[in-house]
């Protein structure tokens, strides 16, 4: 079962950046689409379990805006975030601002996402630069629920379904 290709590496860089690196088992066109097409974003960026990504709009052009609204299924409460695209060099590089409606970290963040393809795999690097070091520290210290094991289970179910479908 060729499920998880990449291990996610997260590092703090300087005093206000976080850098995430992860590889995916697909060409960069496909991975880039998953990061920029609302119908695809909705299918993976909804987690952790118990959340859904209800609203997802993307105006993929420089100066264009994107917006996500997550909903917590238990009580219907929502969390919104969005920003503006500063640079789009598809499928290699994406630069966008990010801020949350209820600012849980001070200022906005600048996300630079790069997609590098090597022998059929795509290496994604997300560099998140916060306006202040307090912003970065707030994010790093927030007790976010992992939900990794949940998604392993979810993936297993999905793969089973897909394998069955493939046999048709």
């Amino acid at each position: 079962m060729s499920s998880f290709v990449g291990t996610l590496k997260v590092e703090a860089k300087g005093d206000r950046e976080i850098v995430m690196t992860r590889e995916f088992n697909a060409d960069k066109d496909l991975v880039f689409d998953c990061f920029t097409k609302p119908e695809l974003i909705k299918r993976w960026l909804y987690g952790p379990d118990g959340w859904s990504l209800d609203v997802c709009t993307v105006d993929l052009k420089v100066g264009g805006k994107y917006r996500y609204v997550w909903k917590y299924l238990k009580d219907g409460s929502t969390m919104g975030a969005g920003g503006t695209y500063k640079e789009i060099s598809g499928p290699d590089r994406l630069v966008q601002t990010e801020s949350f409606d209820e600012a849980w970290y001070p200022g906005e963040a600048l996300l630079t996402t790069t997609f590098v393809e090597k022998s059929g795999k795509t290496f994604v690097t997300i560099n998140i630069q916060y306006e202040t070091k307090e912003g970065r520290d707030t994010v790093v210290k927030s007790p976010m629920e992992g939900g990794a094991s949940q998604s392993y289970n979810r993936l297993e179910t999905l793969l089973d379904t897909l394998i069955l479908e493939g046999k048709k």
Partner: protein, 126 residues
């Protein structure tokens, strides 16, 4: 909240100390045990004063400490602040790991749903 503030300041110091490759190399060297300042400087093409500067930063952040030994000037690694920083990053990592695993499954699904064309892929976008 004083405790939180201290924690935040500590975290800053830790991350700032870790932001330099020489300092990271020093820490990984110390991970195997105590080393003298002299020996620490050896693998680097750097003057001892330059290394000492880095050691001061690491010491200030509480990541290393000196050992009373006038002769050798030993330094040792202090694990706690590193653990703290790593723990916080780990939190963050887990959160995103969940999402990225979902992306893995989506990618597999998309690859399967594409008509298998063993030759080459064409066509991008709509």
């Amino acid at each position: 909240m004083n405790h939180a503030l201290n924690q935040s300041a500590r975290l800053d110091a830790t991350f700032a100390a870790l932001s330099d490759p020489t300092r990271r190399a020093i820490l990984s060297r110390l991970a195997n045990g105590e080393v003298s300042v002299m020996d620490l400087a050896k693998p680097f093409s750097m003057s001892q004063p330059a290394i000492s500067k880095h050691l001061k930063v690491l010491e200030k952040a509480g990541l290393i400490s000196g050992i009373k030994d006038a002769q050798k000037r030993l330094r040792k690694l202090e694990a706690k602040p590193l653990e703290e920083a790593t723990e916080w990053l780990e939190n963050y990592r887990k959160f995103w790991e969940g999402r990225f695993n979902q992306l893995d499954s989506l990618i597999e699904e998309l690859k399967l749903s594409k008509r298998p064309s063993p030759k080459r892929k064409n066509k991008k976008g709509e």
